[in-house]
């Protein structure tokens, strides 16, 4: 590093490209959503009915809640693959406990169980220094095993009519309102609090975060607990809407939650993203699902479209990152 090379001009920064790219990136996915929405509205008259629209929100509430939780973990630089198992476990738990503790008691205990399972994930990852992908892959089998054990492989059912409260409708179903409430709460937590800024920092540069005095272990445990609680809440909705639960119900949830976040524009590399993106991503996937039904398309192609969409989203993320250097 020399003093002698002095007379060079101090390098001028050219900030123009960055913000423009970010703006495109911010809006791109929303434009895409509006596009799908408009296309469906034109192509399928039944799409526009308020019944169908509220049905969409109701349908997506479970994966939407899971995706909001997943977004927090992904932003902090981790993955939670155990959400599906936690979901099934909590669903079963709520069904089995409703006789003893009543509806509210069963729900509260089930969410706390989800939180606890998430905390176990977080502790393994933070204190045991295990990669989150592997740790939650392993615990997903363990948790699913627990779920199978407590039902002994059967479907848990209840005849308590009050248990199916999530189907009640106040404009939207209770399940939808729960989803909206969780999305808003987590959205505020991530965007406007010190905790949220800490998550971005840990995901963006863990060493810098550590040297800045951020307690990384605490954050990791907290974020996986939240993810577990979200999966638990989603599981309760599933159980409540069906009046029953078995250990197979969550098999696709964890990956669907990650896919929703990524399609919405949350970066899988961590440090970038927002809860509203997960909601948009989940909505897009749900609209595609809805479109296939309404337009009478052959559902065998649905997974192909899903997959291509995820690829497109990840490709965009990589491209934008590379340009920024």
């Amino acid at each position: 590093m020399s003093d002698v090379t002095a007379p060079e001009q101090p390098q001028e920064v050219t900030p123009t490209r960055g913000p423009r790219i970010r703006a495109t990136r911010d809006l791109g996915i929303v434009v895409f959503l509006v596009g799908i929405f408009a296309a469906l509205a034109i192509a399928a008259p039944s799409f526009r009915t308020s019944g169908n629209l509220s049905n969409i929100v109701n349908q997506m509430s479970m994966q939407g809640i899971a995706a909001c939780g997943a977004t927090l973990t992904i932003v902090s630089g981790g993955f939670d693959l155990s959400q599906g198992s936690v979901y099934a476990f909590c669903a079963i738990l709520s069904v089995m406990l409703v006789h003893t503790f009543g509806v509210l008691g069963a729900f509260v205990i089930a969410v706390l169980a989800g939180l606890g399972l998430g905390a176990i994930n977080g502790a393994i990852i933070a204190l045991g220094r295990v990669n989150s992908f592997i740790a939650t892959l392993a615990t997903s089998y363990v948790f699913l095993g627990f779920a199978t054990v407590i039902t002994q492989g059967n479907v848990a059912t209840t005849s308590n009519q009050n248990f199916m409260v999530m189907n009640n409708t106040y404009g939207l179903t209770v399940a939808s309102w729960v989803f909206i409430a969780i999305a808003v709460l987590l959205g505020i937590l991530l965007a406007y609090t010190r905790f949220g800024r800490g998550l971005y920092a840990i995901g963006g540069n863990p060493e810098a975060a550590r040297l800045s005095g951020i307690n990384i272990s605490f954050y990791r445990i907290a974020v996986f607990s939240i993810s577990g609680a979200c999966a638990g809440a989603a599981g309760i909705i599933a159980a409540s809407q069906a009046g029953s639960a078995d250990s197979s119900i969550g098999s696709t949830l964890a990956l669907l939650a990650i896919a929703s976040s990524v399609v919405g524009g949350v970066s899988i590399l961590g440090g970038q993203g927002a809860v509203w993106r997960a909601v948009v991503g989940a909505l897009i996937l749900e609209l595609i699902n809805n479109g296939f039904v309404l337009l009478n398309l052959n559902p065998v192609y649905e997974d192909v479209v899903f997959g291509l969409l995820v690829l497109l989203a990840v490709g965009m993320d990589q491209l934008l990152r590379r340009r920024r250097t």
Binding site: V4, T5, A6, V13, G18, A208, L211, Q272
Partner: protein, 501 residues
């Protein structure tokens, strides 16, 4: 024969090599010398095809390299042992030695008789031997260094380049390596090596080239040089940024940082020092002398094996994590702003607020607008450009990134500020601004510990300079320009002065 002609290389605004020409003849042991950052390592990496120069020519025995790739250089007969160990830790010695070699096309290297025989021959010839079946990761650092050398020799290179080959070897093995280099050169190999040990250069090399600030200073037979003449050439007289006169801290200023007998592995060996209020203490030394490791121990980024730190008159503590140090008023601007300092994908405002929880109220709730308002003040004070709190830090120039990083820590209101290489790779304007910020911080009563590999910077800013060598404090001098050579002598460990153990 290795020829390098008019090699130029710049990383962003920092010019590393500026038209360097070097000629190493067959049978010659050619040493390359220079201060930290003089461009030595970059130069030899270019010769081995690891780095592509911006301009210039590399030729082996008169034939220019076809491309600046490791493969092209290797085909031309150039082999290099870099400073970074490049063996594959999980594989065996044999597999590492024959990595990328064509001896065994199909099947296990481990079972190839031919490979084993060839390996045994090379071990025999060079006088070093390693167990062929040992896993590389299980070897000591010294043995891994030997492994790198064996890996080069297996290909019978025409040109062998070694970047600080003896720095991790004990005296006995270092001696054997020097004997080996002599034997290779007698057999006609061109040997080019970088070393920080002047006595080693004088004893081993036939020819010595000195670089300074990316330029060729001299190239001539070793007989004509002495330790003093070499140091003189390395240091030279550089035109520099102007430094304002230093404000001395008042004589009664109390001690704000006291480190007592800090040990960390083999990198930091019993270092004690103190910093007073308003004082700038510089840490001089070569790269790898343990200065950064020492600083990391002070703030608890690394946990020292032994020793205590007293912060701002508090009780002596063994640092454990950065959180405790920060709340006591001790902060560190780390060496590598991209890896350790900044969250590159986030905004200036967020980065500024990262280590300063008090910017926001209860529960840390804060609208981005409020963070941005808080950031505007620092953007103005440090003249960060573009002057936008929402700008993404990764899109700023190196100098502005460094200003953000420094501001982030000054915003915590520290009592002691440690800065590690604060102006590495930044342009001249930003450099002056950063110096100004450091001087101001000291003038306002902050104790500053400044680590820099640039002697000019230390002399220009520090009131007192502590010299490190091999993890120990070897000298302490006033921050006067006249001490330049004494510092270099102590840092290089030249005979006579300095090494007063």
């Amino acid at each position: 024969m290795l020829e390098l002609q008019n090699i130029e290389k710049a990383y962003g605004p920092a010019r590393v090599l500026d038209g360097v020409t070097l000629l190493a003849r067959p049978g010659q042991i050619h040493a390359v010398l220079g201060e930290n950052g003089a461009g030595k390592s970059t130069l030899v990496k270019i010769a081995a095809g690891l780095v592509r120069p911006d301009a210039g020519l590399v030729a082996v025995n008169g034939d220019p390299l076809k491309a600046f790739t490791p493969r092209a250089a290797r085909e031309a007969g150039v082999e290099i042992v870099t400073q970074e160990l490049t063996s594959v830790p999980a594989r065996t010695v044999l597999e590492n030695v024959f990595l990328g070699h064509r001896v065994v096309a199909v099947g296990s290297v481990q079972r190839s008789k031919h490979a084993r025989q060839r390996f045994a021959e090379v071990c025999e010839e060079c006088g070093f031997s390693l167990p062929g079946d040992a896993i590389a990761a299980d070897l000591s650092i010294a043995d891994r260094q030997i492994l790198e050398v064996l890996r080069c020799l297996i290909r019978r290179p025409k040109v062998l380049i070694l970047d600080e080959p003896t720095s991790s070897l004990d005296e006995e093995r270092a001696h054997r390596l020097r004997v080996l280099l002599r034997r290779l050169s007698d057999a006609g190999t061109t040997v080019l090596f970088i070393s920080h040990f002047l006595n080693e250069v004088l004893e081993t090399a036939d020819w010595v080239t000195v670089l300074r600030d990316g330029r060729l200073i001299s190239s001539g037979p070793t007989e004509e040089e002495t330790e003093a003449s070499l140091i003189n050439k390395m240091v030279g007289r550089t035109l520099s940024v102007l430094y304002a006169p230093k404000t001395l801290p008042p004589a009664e200023a109390e001690t704000v940082l006291e480190a007592n007998d800090i040990w960390w592995g083999s990198a930091v060996r019993g270092v004690s020092l103190h910093v007073r209020r308003g004082e700038i203490v510089g840490l001089a030394g070569l790269i790898g002398a343990g200065r950064s490791e020492f600083a990391r121990c002070l703030v608890g980024a690394a946990k020292p094996d032994r020793g205590t730190v007293r912060i701002a008159g508090g009780p002596p503590i063994r640092p454990r994590n950065p959180r405790r140090a920060i709340s006591a008023g001790l902060v560190m601007v780390p060496e590598d702003r991209k890896q350790q300092g900044l969250v590159l994908g986030r905004s200036v405002a967020e980065n500024l607020a990262l280590s300063k929880p008090q910017t926001s109220g209860h529960l840390g709730f804060a609208l981005p607008r409020r963070l941005e308002d808080a950031a505007r003040d620092w953007i103005r004070r440090a003249d960060i450009r573009p002057a936008s709190p929402a700008a993404v830090v990764g899109e700023l120039s190196g100098g502005n990134q460094q200003k953000v990083l420094l501001s982030k820590w000054l915003a915590c209101g520290p009592k002691i500020l440690i800065v590690d290489e604060p102006t590495r790779g930044v342009d001249v304007g930003a450099k002056a601004a950063i110096h100004e910020m450091l001087a101001q911080a000291a003038a306002s009563g902050v104790g500053v510990l400044l680590i820099s590999s640039e002697l000019e910077e230390l002399l220009g800013l520090a009131h007192r300079i502590v010299v490190f060598r091999k993890g120990e404090v070897v000298d302490e001098v006033e921050g006067e320009a006249s001490e330049r050579e004494r510092i270099m002598t102590a840092a290089f460990g030249a005979a006579g002065m300095g090494a007063d153990e």
